[in-house]
């Protein structure tokens, strides 16, 4: 904006000079009549340009104009120009050198510098506001939602040696080290191999332990030919203890070592399903004319079958309740019969 204003000012100055030559006229003539004639002739254009003239007209020029004004009609122009003068006083150009007839090189360079500076500041502000925009990728990276390492915009670390990098500096005497801006004193480790061996012996005496190879729930019976030291008794409510090992150990080992192909359980389930389908198809070929609806129940989920069985049970109970009076009646009748 600033640049536009500055260049706008300059443009006005040049254009007015070329078009009307008021400046030359005033300086070259001493006749007020000629001024008034000129103004009458160019009344419309002057009025049109009135809003612009405050940009280039000097107060001195306006005062000079006022001296030469004699006619009442020209009084109006005098007032108009004095009004312009007032506006010009208020809105005085911040760069007075621009109003000079021959602007200096310094002024032009200063304008260019200001334009460049303003553009740079604007670009910087726009870029900064882009990073602050909520929800942008940069914002997500800043908030830790996105990992810039995985997006190809990361920069490698500036060092690969944790002992020797700009953040770790050791003094020449090797008695101090500065890490992340903090200075520390270095003290040598005094643990000797003898001391280490002493500690090992102490621990071997204090903690006699053998790694258990068998885990048993508390309350289980001890299997024969098993070293009691190798058994780990686990509380009955321990997560390990409450899980039933329904998988074969050999099969589990094979599963772990399997490198390619379909996993064993998936394969087994698939084969079982396939066999079931084949069996169904065989049955259907045998009973082509009649379709047994009970065959489809095998594929229903256990929950569904459970619901069905519940529904059937309810039906039965309802039927029983409905049929109870008859039964009672019949039973009572049967009971009564012997009496009769």
């Amino acid at each position: 904006m600033g640049s536009a204003t500055i260049w706008g000012l300059r443009f006005e100055w040049i254009s007015v000079e070329d078009k009307s030559c008021i400046h030359n006229f005033v300086s070259g003539s001493s006749s007020g009549r000629r001024i008034s004639q000129f103004r009458r002739r160019n009344e419309m254009s002057t009025r049109c340009d009135a809003s612009r003239q405050h940009l280039w007209l000097k107060p001195k020029f306006l005062e000079a104009t006022a001296i030469y004004v004699r006619e009442p009609r020209e009084q109006h122009y005098y007032e108009t120009y004095s009004w312009f003068a007032k506006i010009h006083e208020v809105v005085r150009s911040p760069l007075p050198f621009l109003t000079n007839s021959s602007p200096s090189k310094f002024g032009i360079l200063l304008c260019v510098a200001i334009v460049v500076l303003v553009t740079a500041v604007r670009a910087f502000v726009v870029r900064k506001s882009r990073y602050k925009r909520p929800g942008s990728v940069a914002d997500l990276v800043r908030r830790g939602q996105l990992r810039y390492d995985s997006r190809g915009i990361s920069k490698p670390l500036k060092y690969d040696d944790p002992f020797n990098n700009p953040l770790v500096k050791v003094s020449n005497s090797k008695s101090t080290v500065e890490m992340c801006g903090k200075l520390y004193r270095l003290a040598p480790v005094t643990l000797t191999e003898e001391q280490q061996a002493i500690h090992q012996r102490r621990r071997s005496r204090a903690y006699r332990w053998k790694r258990p190879t068998m885990f048993l729930k508390e309350g289980d019976s001890l299997p024969p030919d098993v070293d009691p030291d190798s058994i780990r008794w686990i509380p009955a409510n321990h997560p390990f203890a409450t899980t039933a090992a329904d998988i074969d150990e050999n099969l589990a080992q094979t599963n772990v070592y399997q490198k390619r192909g379909v996993p064993s359980r998936i394969q087994a389930e698939h084969e079982a399903l396939h066999r079931k389908l084949e069996a169904l198809e065989n049955e259907q070929t045998l009973n082509r004319l009649t379709i047994d609806p009970t065959n489809g129940q095998d594929f229903e989920s256990p929950l569904k079958s459970h619901i069905n069985s519940n529904a059937q049970a309810e039906k039965r109970s309802i039927n029983n309740q409905v049929s109870d009076p008859d039964k009672v009646e019949s039973s009572s009748a049967s009971e009564e019969k012997p009496g009769l």
Binding site: R147, P156, L157, K158, Y159, D160, D161, P162, F163, N164, P166, L167, K169, V170, S171, N172, K174, V177, M179, C180, K182, L183, Y184, R185, A187, P188, V189, T190, L191, T192, E193, E194, Q195, Q196, I198, H199, Q200, A206, Y207, R208, W209, R211, F215, I234, F240, T242, T243, A245, I247, L251, A252, Q253, N255, Y257, Q258, K259, R260, P263, I266, Q267
Partner: protein, 340 residues
């Protein structure tokens, strides 16, 4: 408060004991921060005016830790007490190793209470677990969740939340898994990290069964230390001799005020070599909630750097030779006069 390597029996530091734990490999030269002899000029830490571009150029992927031991290295990350940072350590060391270009499989062996997937931000991608593999519902490669940030990192969960593992199956199942991972088509992973559940129950026994080495995570408080000592004893009884410890949540200000045991005190009590010292850092909670491990933070945090250093030592089967015990008081303007 972080730990660093110090040169073994350094001539420049005569105060160092001669018979300290010198399990340092042969490649550890006199240079303080360049254990691998690659033509890399070490930075001069004192010089403030070094060029940043020079640092980038000299440190970008030109140093890697030298992998020691046979692959796959099966490391169990354990502690007696719960809530000391086992899962955080597993996530951060695992991703640090992956960043160092080692293939890593992290196994969450916490049956029914798994959390490693949350820390890694992979919770929405876990469809199958080891339970499904054992049951034959899927293959092992389908249960492995590959991290998109570092494709050489994979996660394997033992079970879904609230599900249970069959009794006595756990240890064997993990041994089968490790064997199956060794014989993978794409090659054996370099590291198998097992996140152990708290306690010394069946879950602990399951987790340590296939392990060759252990990382004991502890905090500098007496409850954690007692449990850590017990667990170390059990691990040693089980035949796991390569045990290193990580002291987590260390606060230098409290140590300075003698309100917390120092790392050297902890080491004196347990007699274990130090793999790392992790400072108490609010970023740990933030990264946990975000599902974005600390070691991927940019810029790196103090705790993240400490995890990276621990991962580096784990690769090289190295241990800390010096620890940073307290903050050096900042020198004031009149320090040359003897005033602080």
């Amino acid at each position: 408060m972080l730990g660093l390597k110090l040169p073994t029996a350094s001539a420049s530091s005569p105060s160092f004991p001669r018979n300290t734990l010198n399990s340092t490999p042969a490649f550890l030269s006199n240079n303080f921060f360049s254990p691998i002899c690659i033509n890399v000029k070490p930075l001069k830490p004192k010089s403030k005016s070094y060029s940043t571009s020079l640092v980038k150029a000299s440190l970008q992927w030109n140093r890697k830790p030298q992998l020691a031991g046979e692959t796959p290295r099966v490391v169990v990350i354990t502690s007696g007490k719960g809530g000391v940072g086992k899962t955080t350590t597993t996530a951060n060391i695992g991703l640090s190793l992956a960043r160092l270009d080692f293939s890593v499989v992290a196994i969450d062996a916490d049956v029914g209470l798994r959390n490693l997937d949350l820390l890694l931000g992979l919770e929405n991608r876990v469809n199958y677990t080891v339970i499904e593999v054992l049951n034959g519902d899927c293959r092992l490669d389908q249960a492995l969740v590959r991290d998109k940030r570092w494709s050489n990192f994979e996660l394997l969960c033992i079970s879904k939340p609230r599900s249970k593992l069959p009794i006595g199956f756990g240890g064997k199942a993990l041994v089968w898994l490790v064997d199956a991972l060794k014989s993978r088509q794409e090659g054996s992973p370099d590291f198998i990290l097992i996140d152990c559940p708290a306690g010394i129950d069946a879950g602990f026994i399951t987790a340590i069964t296939p392990a060759n080495e252990a990382v004991l995570v502890t905090t500098p408080d007496i409850t954690s230390l007692r449990d850590a000592d017990r667990v170390t004893g059990l691990l040693e009884c089980d035949g796991i001799r390569d045990i290193k410890m990580i002291v987590n949540r260390v606060r230098t200000d409290m140590i300075k005020g003698e309100d917390m045991m120092s790392v050297l005190d902890v080491q004196e009590m347990l007699g274990l070599p130090l793999l790392g010292v992790i400072p108490d850092d609010a970023e740990v909670i933030r990264s946990t909630n975000r599902g974005y491990p600390l070691v991927l933070n940019k810029p790196p945090t103090l705790a993240g750097l400490a995890f990276e250093q621990a991962a580096w030592r784990l690769v090289e089967q190295d241990s800390m030779q010096a620890v940073m015990v307290e903050e050096e008081p900042k020198r004031g303007f009149f320090s040359f006069l003897g005033w602080s």
